[in-house]
Structures are given as structure tokens and as C-alpha cells.
Symmetry: C2
Subunit: 428 residues, 2 copies
């Protein structure tokens, strides 16, 4: 008898109607002969309302109390979902993060799961109940306090539970049909992807695709949990994210299609470019600079070091980082300028990153030619380039990013005939 973990985001349980719709869906899944564990987020924008109240009572914020406050949101939605399930004649029990055995470290606001011991969940589903678990929250064994997992927390809860329960699949319900070959807001002809390897999905998420959080995909890949990203508003098959190539092939079996060379095109507007100008071209200087930036806890993404310009003995080093980390990084660099001996720092937020992702490019040498050809035909200037085995990323001017995405998407024949439903956020 298979075990399915289903995660529903805030937009799926935004009101009584949504909760009843989810209840019906969960009960149908059980009626189809599965054991079901459900993970829910807080209702709609209730989290924002709590944050707003917190802002009203105090200017300063306390991480422990904030977790106590926010964790109330899932308790409300899960209890209501359990009631709605009882209302249609099935049996269900809701469990808080700690009751579900989600043990985390004590870092409030962005706790990491260190252990999952879902004894009570198992007991509940063994006796035929539907188990409902509060997403996003856990308990620190060290402090016995309630913690929250931070962005994408409920997805992570679902995947962690699926791994601990050895579930057959973790279904992530959202408000779109699945993962698309590009953001349909930019490329209306983008197509839904039927299956993608978690390796590729990782690159997609890291490259700006927002439908799944990097952390949840990493977790699913590490523990070999198949993900099924689908819409809570339809019964269409969504996108399968499969941990190992073998699964990939398994799914492919019987299908005439060969695996596509390219999975999709992702883009990202959340990064800025920093150029450190006139760095003495002597060993160790680059390391010194990246040490300074890392010291400001910023994640550097792409890096380019220009060749030493006509024997000046100096060079320029460019890198990208999240815009939110920009100010801190600039301050750290400015403070270290004399010591390091560079001439100036340039900072530009008007950039965009475009990434082409596909496991197939490993074995298809023509990919990068076609990629750069498409960009130049579209008149897009390339500012930086970085590549992995299954990804090519470029930085362009922000104004040209959408054109670039459409050009590349078309060049790899990803365009479909249907127009995709427009993408929207998926709660936490």
C-alpha cells in the first residue's frame, strides 16, 4: 500500500472553501487506496497579518517569539483541515511540528532539520487516519523551543517527512500545473515539463526558477524522494522531479520520446554585478577579495577575471551577488581598499541572468554554439559567462533579459502551441 505525502501551500488553504477543496482531494487520494500524510502552510496571507501585528507592538523583533507567533498559523490551518476531513466522513489527526517529530537546531527563523522521528504519524496512518502536519515548524531538542524553517519551509517539511516515512512520492501542490520550460509570464508559449532530474531542477531553482525552493530540491535529491509538482486547482499530471537518472529512464520507458537535450530556460533579476577595478595582478589578490566579500556573508555567484590589461600589471575582477547583499559587500570592500590596493569598485543592479539547463548538453557539443548564436541574432550583449556540466549562464543588461529568454527558448524549440497559465507564488 503506497504512502503519499501531499503539501498544500497557503494559497491552497486561503479560506474555508479552499480548505474544503483540499479536504476533498486528500480524502479522494486515501479512497484511491493510499496512505496519506498532508503538510499544510498557514492560510493565505495570515502570516503577513501576524508580521504586521508584530510590527505594531514592537520596533525590535525577537527571533524566538517570532517563531512562537508564526507557528500559530499552521496550527490553525491544519486543525481546520482535520475538521473539514471529519466533515466529509473520513478520519484525520493534525500534528504540530514537534508532535510530528521534526527536530531542528535552535536557530530561530531559519532552523535546519537535524532529525525526523515521525512515530505518531506512523501510528496515525497505520490505524487508517489521514495525518496532517504543520509545515514550516519544528522543535529544538536543545532548547525545547518552537522553531521555524524559513523560506520554503513547508516544502522542506514535506520532503523531510517523505524521506523519513520512505514515501513513494511527495506531491507539492501549488497554483500552476508544474515546472515550465520558462517563466510563462515572459514566454507565453512555455511548456510544462513532464519529468526533470533533480540535478536539472537544482540548476533551475539556483538559476531563478521560483516554483520550488533550492533547499527542498536538495533535500529530495539527497534522500532520493521523487517530487510531483502539480496544481491544487486541477487533476492534471504535473512535473515529476526524479532523484536519479534510473528513475528518469523508468518513467521514460514505453514513451517514444527520447530525453530532451534541454529542460528549460531560467532567468533571475535578483542579482547585482560588482567589478573591482585595477587589482594588482599578483597571486592571492583574488582570494583576498573574495575572502573580504565572504566575510560579509554574501553568496557570490558568477565570477570573471579579465586578462591583465596591456602590461599595466593590474586586472579587473567581476562577480555577481544577490542585490540584498550588495550594500554590505560594498562596505566591506571599501573598508579594505587600501590594504588590498585596488583602484575602484563599480556596482550595477541593472543586470539579468539567463540560464539554459539540460542534462542532454553533456553529450551534445552543439548546444553552446546554438545558444550564443541565438543571443547574438537577438542583439543581446553578453557581459559574463559561467557554465556547469548541465548549465550555461550569461549576464546581460536587465532591459534585454526578456528578449534573450524568448530567443533562447525558441532556438531550442521549446515553444509550445498552447499558452501557459500564468505563474504565481506558492506561499511558504
Amino acid at each position: 500500500m503506497s504512502l503519499i505525502v501531499q503539501k498544500f501551500g497557503g494559497s491552497s488553504v486561503a479560506d474555508a472553501e479552499g480548505i474544503k477543496r483540499v479536504a476533498r482531494r486528500v480524502v479522494d487520494t486515501q479512497a484511491a487506496g493510499h496512505r496519506v500524510v498532508v503538510v499544510v502552510s498557514a492560510m493565505g496571507d495570515s502570516t503577513d497579518e501576524l508580521l504586521d501585528l508584530a510590527g505594531q507592538v514592537s520596533a525590535t523583533s525577537d527571533a524566538r517569539e517570532m517563531d512562537m507567533l508564526l507557528s500559530a498559523g499552521e496550527r490553525i490551518s491544519m486543525a481546520l483541515l482535520a475538521m473539514a476531513i471529519h466533515g466529509i466522513g473520513a478520519s484525520a489527526q493534525s500534528f504540530t511540528g514537534s508532535q510530528a517529530g521534526m527536530i531542528t537546531d535552535a536557530i530561530h527563523g531559519k532552523a535546519r532539520i537535524i532529525d525526523v522521528s515521525p512515530h505518531r504519524i506512523l501510528t496515525a496512518i497505520e490505524k487508517g487516519d489521514i495525518a496532517i502536519v504543520a509545515g514550516f515548524q519544528g522543535m529544538s531538542r536543545e532548547s525545547n523551543d518552537i522553531t521555524t524553517l524559513g523560506r520554503g519551509g513547508s516544502d522542506t517539511t514535506a520532503v523531510a517527512l517523505a524521506a523519513a516515512l520512505d514515501a513513494d512520492v511527495c506531491e507539492i501542490y501549488t497554483d500552476v500545473d508544474g515546472v515550465y520550460t520558462a517563466d510563462p509570464r515572459v514566454v507565453p508559449s512555455a511548456q510544462k515539463i513532464d519529468t526533470i532530474s533533480s540535478e536539472e531542477m537544482l540548476e533551475m531553482a539556483a538559476s531563478g526558477a521560483k516554483i520550488l525552493h533550492l533547499r527542498c530540491v536538495e533535500y529530495a535529491r539527497r534522500f532520493g524522494v521523487p517530487l510531483h509538482v502539480r496544481s491544487s486547482f486541477s487533476h492534471n499530471e504535473g512535473t515529476w522531479v526524479l532523484p536519479s537518472p534510473d528513475d528518469q529512464i523508468k518513467i521514460q520507458e514505453g514513451e517514444p520520446l527520447e530525453q530532451p537535450i534541454i529542460s528549460g530556460v531560467a532567468h533571475d533579476r535578483s542579482e547585482a554585478k560588482v567589478t573591482v577595478v585595477g587589482v594588482p595582478d599578483i597571486p592571492g589578490k583574488a582570494a583576498e577579495i573574495f575572502g573580504i566579500v565572504a566575510g560579509a556573508n554574501t553568496n557570490i555567484d558568477m565570477i570573471v577575471q579579465n586578462v591583465s590589461t596591456h602590461g599595466s600589471g593590474r586586472t579587473d575582477i567581476s562577480f555577481t551577488l544577490p542585490i540584498v547583499d550588495g550594500a554590505e559587500a560594498l562596505a566591506a570592500l571599501g573598508e579594505a581598499q587600501d590594504r588590498v590596493g585596488f583602484e575602484a569598485v563599480e556596482y550595477n543592479e541593472k543586470i539579468g541572468k539567463l540560464s539554459l539547463i539540460g542534462a542532454g548538453m553533456r553529450s551534445n557539443p552543439g548546444v553552446s554554439y546554438r545558444f550564443f548564436r541565438a543571443l547574438s541574432d537577438a542583439g543581446v550583449n553578453i557581459d559574463m559567462i559561467s557554465t556547469s556540466e548541465i548549465r550555461i549562464s550569461v549576464v546581460t543588461g536587465a532591459d534585454l533579459l526578456d528578449d534573450a529568454v524568448r530567443a533562447v527558448h525558441a532556438a531550442f524549440e521549446l515553444d509550445g502551441d498552447a499558452t501557459a497559465t500564468v505563474y504565481a507564488g506558492t506561499g511558504r
Copy 2:
């Protein structure tokens, strides 16, 4: 260094402003040199909103899930209060019922406290923090589930904590200045009572005074916890409810006033009168009838058995019970009519109960004369009478109840000059 438990009801923490006002008050108390433990209810009508949502998602209700749902309310208010306290520079930690060691039985919706082990509360206040505890909720050791204590739950939480921590006083903050000699809505000249014995307060609560719940007063009396009922909107002294006569005297010391004969007049419109007509006047019939009613889980209050009417060999038995239990009791009686052999059942909800309470009446024989004199002067017909050592209660027609209350209040010279602030409910 004294320890004070302060309980704030939903109306005191109804919004951000209220929470900040409570925070200021709590911090002032600590600044005055006390260790402070605060018990809070859910914000204003948030409980009703949750109940409304529950009604929307399901017609049936599940006690365990209802407790999970409602317990979220206090978690929100206590976390916000902790933040507000941090906001004004003091340190505080909030604790859920289970973190505070409120162990209950597993009867959801009206759980009873079976143990209080407030280790974490003690640790928090020892290190100088203000400890904030979620009222109304606990945890069942048996099922490890979240439970709620039912009506008056937060008051009970506060008193139970005060007892377990051996607090010097448990302050119950509400939206009136204290306990009054009568309901100011009926008797505008009612006066605030400065001190009252818990014995008398029990009679007041049992007789319809709504400011404190019977259960909380019982608990305070049993564990010798002094209560101070006062307003969260002023700094006036409220009403002290003192467990033992000695405390009573202690407080009286230095005061010229002798203890008043009468504490106050309470009234109750929530009961109905049942008369079982033509009961065979043979031993055991009364017991049989009360057995039937008790079987329908109703609490009988006053009982009157009329003398057997002119040798008919039959008698009438009248008793009062809560209106909410009326239907069930009538059904049980009707079903047993033939077996018991009575002639008919009369039911009347248009009654009111008036009670005069005062420990002083023990030693003052004149009280009942004065009481009945006042009622007859006011033209009030008396339907039933019951007395305890420190209480006289009568049942009258509902329409005359207010006049009766005013007449008795005046007859015992309880009227004051000032007009009392009007009484209102106090959250849970």
C-alpha cells in the same frame, strides 16, 4: 522578593494598543521589585473568529482538533506581548501550556488540571525574565495532545500557576474595578467590595456574579491563593478575595471599619423551574425523580417539596436547573412518567434567582427578617427559598427580579453615592 501572577483577559489584549498597555503595566510591576508571571487569553474576539471558521469548514466538530485550533489564539497574544515587552527594553519569554507544565487529563474542551510543573517558568523568572504563559490550555500527559480548560480557563491557569509557584498574589485583570455589591447594570449605586472571603465569593459566583468563574475561586480557596480582581484600565485597588478568615482579619487590621454583615446581592436569569405535579407521596419517589434528572447530566440547584395537599396522597416537587439543560431533563422525565407515576410536569423559564451573601449573617439573626421584609415591601412574590450558612436565595418572577435586587441592596444599606462603571464580560 515577592512573586506576582497577573492574568489579562481577551479584552485587555484585544489589539496592538492593548498589548502595549499591558506590556507597560507588566514591566512597571517588575520595576517595582517583583518577579512577574503573566497569563494571557486570546486577543479580543479572535476565538470567535476561529470558531466561525470551524463552523464554515465542517458541520460536525472534533474536540481534539478544536483544542488544537483554539490554543493557537493564546500563542499569538503571548508572543506579541513578549515582543511588546522587549520593545520597551525588558526581557520576557512566552511559554505554551505544555512548556509551562500545565498537565491536564485528556478531556478535550473542558480538561482538568492534574499537575503543574513550572520548571521553565521558574528558570525564566530566576534569571530576571518576565514569564508569559498561554492561558486556557494544557497538555495531556496521557495522549500528549493539546487540551483546553473550558470556560474561565485562563483564570484557572493563573490561579493554578500562582499555587504551584507559591505566588504572593494572583491578580485577575478585567474591565471593571472589581467585585461589586450588585451588578451595576441593575443597581447603579452598587459599591466596589474591598475584601471578600473566598467562601463568600464562591457563593457570589454560584449565585450568578459573572466576574470570576466558580472554578477559579474554588481553586484559589483550596490552595490558599489570594486573588486581587482589578481593572487593566486603571491603577485603582480592586477587590481582594481572601482564602482564609485570618487573611481577612489581617487586611482589616488598622481599618476602623468592622467587617460588613453582607457582602453583596447576586442575581441569575439563567435558570428555569421544573415542577413535577402529583407525585405519589411515598418514600423514595423524590430520589427516583432526582435520579432521572441527574441521569440527564443536569445540575439541580434549588429544591422545594410542597406538603402533601389535603390527603390526596400526592405532592408536588419543584426544582431549578440551568435553562440549557431544560430540554434534556424534560425529555428524561416524560419518558419516565408512567414508571414513576406522577401526573404532569410544569416548566417555567420566566424566573429569576436573587441571592444575599454575607459571612456576617451567621451571627446576625435579623438578616432574614430584613431580607423578606424588603421583598414584601417591594411587592415581590417569592416562589422558592433556599439558604446556606452565609446565603439566602429566593426565586421570583423574572419581571420583578431587578426591583427585588434594588430593594434588597437598599435594605442592607449597600448603596453608595458614586455610580459604578458598568460591568462587562472578561474574555476567557
